[in-house]
Structures are given as C-alpha cells and as structure tokens.
Amino acid sequence: MKINSLADLESVKSKALAASAAMEKTVIVCGGTGCLSYGSAELASALERKIKDRKLNAKVMLKMSGCHGFCERGPIVVIEPDKIYYQRVGRRDKEKAAEELVETTLVQGKVVESFLYSDPVTKERMIDYYKIPFYAKQKRIALRNSGHINPADIDDYIATGGYAALVKALAMKPEAVIEEIKKSNLRGRGGGGYPTGRKWESTRKAEGPVKYIICNGDEGDPGAFMDRSIMEGDPHTVLEGMVIAAYAIAKGKAPAHGFIYVRHEYPLAVKNLTKAIEQAREHGLLGKNILNSGFDFDLRINRGGGAFVCGESSALMRSLEGRVGEPRAKYVHATEKGLWDQPTNLNNVETYACLPEIIVKGADWFASIGTKGSKGTKVFSLVGKVNNTGLVEVPMGIPLREIVFDIGGGIRKGKKFKAVQTGGPSGGVIPDSMIDLPVDFDELTRVGSMMGSGGLIVMDEEDCMVDVAYYFVKFLEEESCGKCVPCREGLRRMRQIFDRITTGNGNPDDMVMLEELCTAMKLGSLCGLGQTAANPVMSTINYFRSEYEAHIKDKKCPAGVCKALIAYMIDPESCTGCQLCVKNCPSGAIKGVKKKPHTIDKEICIKCGVCYDVCKFDSVKRK
C-alpha cells in the first residue's frame, strides 16, 4: 500500500500496534550475526513449533530481531511486555530450551532461572532487560530499534514511529532541515567528526546536473561492528536518514541518486537492506513522488571489494565508479566534485541512523545530550579483555572508566587493566592512568588517539603494546593503496623495524627512526590512512616507552606475547596434572604423569600456544 500522507502513516502504525496489543506476549529471538552463529534460527523454529503445539498462536507473537549488542551471550531471547531478558538460550539443545521456555514462561508465567543473566562478579541473576549493567548506562539513539523490531517488516518499523521524521521533514523547507541538523551539532560518526549540517549545506549549494547521496557502510576498522548491526537490525532507519538528506540537499531540477556501499563481509546486511528498499518502494517512501510530495529519490546497494582504503570517502567514490579505490587529494571537495565529478554527500551509517530521531525530537533535544563539542551519543564496539563485550551506545563525554568497568564489567579473569585502544588503525592507546577521561571527539584527539568509527579495545597485562603497534602497522602496510610514497614506503620501513624489535634484533636507534617516520608520514601522506598511521605507534611509544626498551635492550617481551622472545612453561604450583595439555600438544613437547605437575621441553616446543589455550587452571605461563 502506498503511503501518501501523515494520516496514511498513522493508520499503518495503529494497525500494527493493534495487532501486537491483541497478543499477550511477544517472544523476540535475536537474528543478528552473532546469535545466528549460535543457532538462533533453529531455536526460533523450535519455538514456533512448540507454540503451535501448545495452541498459543493466538496469544503469543514470535519474531526475529536484529542484534542487541550483547552477542557474546547469544542466543538472546526477549519476552515483551515483561522485559524478560534471556541469554545463552539453548546453546547446546535447542529443542529442550524451546520446550522449557514455552512451558515455564509462556504457559506457567514463570521465569527460567538458567536463562537469566548472571553477573560475572557478584553472580546475581537478573530478569529485567534494562537493569542489566551492560544496558543500564546506555542511551540508545542510533541503536534504538535494533533488537526490538523485525528488520524484515516495515510495519514493525512504522509502529515504533518510523518514517514520521520523513513526513515531518518533507513538510519543512529543505533549508530548514539543514538548519535543524546544524543546530543539533551532529558530527559525522564515520571517523573525522565533520559537522553533518555543514557538509549538507555545501553539497546543496554546489551546482550540478545531478547530486549523489552516499552511505558509507564499508566499516573497515577491524574490531568494530556497529554499522553492520544497524544495517542488519534496523535497515529502514538508514533509508529514512538518506531520504531526509537527499531532500535537504537536492535543489531545483537536479535529481538526486543514492548509493549504499556495504562491506563485502556483510551478506546479511545486504539481504536486509535489499528487502527494506523493496518495501520502502512499495509503500511510496522511496522512488518517484515520495509521500505524494513530488520529491523523487531512489538508491541502490553496492558491495565493497574488501579494501580498507575504500572506506575513505574519495576512494569509495572511485570504487563506485568501477575503478581501483585510490584516494584523491583533499583540495578537491567531494561536496562539489565527488562521484562522477558531481556534487556528492557522503555520510556514515550511524550518522544517517541518528537523523530521524533528531528531526522528530528536535535539535535542542539532541544537543542537550553530550559535551560542548560533541553532541548526542556514540556507539562503541567494546571488545578485548572485558567481561562484557558487545556494542554499547553511550552519551558523549561518559568517563572511560564507566564504559570499561560498569558497562564492560571490568577485566576478564581478574587480570590487571592496562590500556584501551580507540579509533582502530587511525587511533592510539590510552593508558590506565587516563581511565577517567571523558570520551568525546576532542578529548580522544587531545590524548593522541581518535574517535574513529568507535572501536574500543580493552587490553590487560597480557597484551604487549609493541605487538599492538606492530599489528596496526602490518595491517596498514597491507591496506595502503600505494599511491603516495610516504605512506607506501613509510609503512614498509616501520614494519621492518617492528620485525626486528619483536624478534630481539632491535637497536636503540630504532625508536628514533620510528618517530621520524611518523612525523614524515603525518605531514606527507595524501589521505587519512597514511596521515593517521602514526597514531598507534606514537601513542604506544609515548605511554609505554619502557616496554619498547625491554624489547630492544633486554630482548624481552614483558607481557609474554612476542613469540621469538618468550618461552612457554608450566607453573608447578597450580598444575593439577590433568594431562589435557599433554594430549593436545601437537609436537609432543609436554611430559608428565597424571596428578603430577607437567613440564615443557623447550627444545621440542614450537610455541604454538595450544597448551595455553586448553589449560583450565591458567597454569601455562609465557615468559
């Protein structure tokens, strides 16, 4: 059915709301990538069967949603309206779990204790979704729908207020929409934090026979997955944001066309977006004469080719043109000469996802959240050595400590916190002494890191800072497009220096050399990849100089990571003699009899680390 007016939208909304109100309960099974890999699709079909067997169809609605962010605890099942949060449901036995859930919760109205979240430290079990510490301190704008709605059903999106922003925006003058976004002070979530309203204004002003609106869903930061979750779990939000942008930017007769560039590794995002586009077209929310307003806009999906540099806006545009993704110098502004040399607006997925809320609730509301220079919220991909890993959306300015210790639940296995790394390959590390840093664009830059796309990787005493810098240098060397010399050669030289340092062949000049290379690359590289490649190196040198020195002078890796500098050994105190490592060692280097401490023969050991992985008593040490 075509939606032509606010009244049409309201009627779709009230129908959808009435349908769910007629149900006593809604069972929402997470269908995000994480939960699917734990078999949530099979769980959902088992639930469907049991619900039918018990003749509960008329009372219980079952639906699949996108990601809740807490994928580590998947499969997640939520029961509404009771806000019951079940986790790790049926990891082993889907049939049994479905049976239990239906009998106990749906028939008898009681909770299944074993599915409840239990705090890793206090062991307290919790029922209520929003009281779980992982969620309690979050404020969700971009992620507001993910995990709650069925991404394959446009009515579900409309029921939560979807497309109301578009109706509102189309009733405004385009200039007024831009003013509103400028007033909200929304800054781009893709990395650089450029003010979105300003970018739109420049693209609107630029003259051209056509204008392009691009959504950057390339998500290159290896360790971040917020854009994926949004595209998979709430695709209509992205579409709505893009149509609003197109409307604000289009001028006169010049048509506007849209592209969503999705990372190659995200097939489910492509699937859900494709479906959403079809539905939006059917409903008259995309295509010709949107909402009967006379405004036309349509878009298509392109899959990326697996090149990190294509996340950079000018490289992405070359890739859309069917070419090699090499960046262009920045003095050519994409807002004037972007895709096919026409005025182009490019924003990140999360940026688009914030827009509908800003239009509906107003710029003042958005600007009331966050800090002076960074408004609203930011989604972080909280991973690494914390107890609770996943996607978290928090107000800008929240102290780092709250993210790591309250939401993240502190460090795994009681180990010592060492640092966080933010901003992916463009960012840097922040040491434990700065744990109270308020997290926003400017503060992160001030301490030598970056917001980037929101990767937040927590590291403990067993993580080596030299290895972390080495890791990013290797990553960037591989991903540098090779167009400009400082980046191509600089990264290669840096990698060679790290090859030496991490194998015990470093010399004291190496650090001076690294610092010089960093400066040269910062000044001389053409695009952000080379310009920011210094951050992981410089920040680790600045905050963890002694660790570099230990590698160079003492030929030691204090954290026990750099393979050439360590040996595996077994702690005789804690070893119980369980023989697990003996059985698993591929080279037969571990000797020992049952119930007596085992030993590793250094001559035979190939340092593969299998024993370290299998030991249940943490008795294998790396020194």
Binding site: T33, G34, L36, S37, Y38, F70, C71, E72, E219, G220, D221, P222, G223, A224, F225, R228, R263, E265, Y266, P267, N302, R303, G304, G305, G306, A307, F308, S319, L320, E321, G322, R323, V324, G325, S381, V383, G384, K385, T389, G390, L391, Q421, G424, G455, I457, M459, D463, Y471, F475, E479, C481, K563, N584, P586, C608, G609, V610, Y612, D613, V614
Partner: protein, 158 residues
C-alpha cells in the same frame, strides 16, 4: 583445478549490468560467485564486451582482496585477524590451521578441499576469536578446536 568457463553465463552477467563498465566490480563479484575465482577466459570476455583495456580489468581484479585469480578449495576457511580476534589469540589459531592443513595462508590443500585465508574482522567481534568456513561462523574458537573443525568438514559427504 581450473574451472570450465561457460561464456554464455559471463555474457548474461554482463547483460544484467547493462554492459556498463561502471559496474565492473559487481560483474566480477557475480562471476566469482559462480566459480570461486576469476577465470582468465571470463576476464578476457569482460574486457572484450565492455570495450575496456585488459589492464583495467586486471588492475581491479588484483586491487580488491575479495577477488582471486586462483581457484579455491571447496571449503574456504577465513580466520579473522581483526583487532579483537588478534588480542584473543587469532595468531595461534591461524598457526594451528597452517600446521594442521600443511599449507600457508592463501594456499589450498592438494586434495582441493580447503583454502586457508585471513580476513580483517567479520563483524562478530564479540565472539572473538572467529573463524568462518564458507557461510558458517564459528565463534570463540581456540587452537585446540582447530583440528575438530577441519575434521568435521573433511568428513562431510560430497
């Protein structure tokens, strides 16, 4: 094993994208989806039908990581080496696969069953370390599970 290339199929792909060189990348993605790699005859056909130099075709084919000019195995193992996985032991996982399969990264086993590759983040970082075999995502893998994963796929019926 080099695939037998059906040029009609290639032509259909080209046609479905309106024979527009702007869609070179999606065309190559479609061809690769058929053969697991980009066979030379298909690339020749592309340059011919799109009327572009072969250098442009091979430039694109070698720049983007998803494209392969070599045939791949039946099961493509992707070990995630993204940051989250790296810190939770991905290098040990990759080492174990190399050792157990007797091949290097980007190599294919002699029986044509497995190709080993690494990938920068599969977007399932909360399940780190992650390994993907064809379409199956395996989360929280440890180096001792590697052998079991390989055996499970090797034991599958053709």
């Amino acid at each position: 094993m080099q695939a037998k290339v059906n040029l009609k199929l290639v032509d259909e792909v080209i046609k479905s994208w309106g024979a527009d060189p702007a869609f070179l990348i999606p065309m190559m993605q479609d061809i690769q989806a058929q053969y697991n790699y980009l066979p030379r005859p298909a690339l020749n056909r592309l340059q011919e039908k799109l009327n572009i130099p072969l250098t442009r075709v091979s430039e694109v084919a070698t720049f983007y990581k998803t494209f392969s000019l070599k045939p791949k195995g039946k099961y493509i193992i992707q070990v995630c080496t993204g940051t989250a996985c790296h810190l939770r032991g991905a290098p040990r996982i990759a080492d174990s696969f190399m050792r157990e399969l007797g091949i290097e990264v980007n190599g294919t086993t002699k029986n044509g069953l497995f190709t080993l590759s690494t990938v920068n983040c599969l977007g399932a970082c909360a399940l780190a370390p992650v390994v993907k075999v064809n379409e199956d995502v395996h989360g929280q893998v440890s180096s001792d599970k590697v052998k079991k994963i390989i055996e499970a796929y090797a034991a599958r019926k053709k």
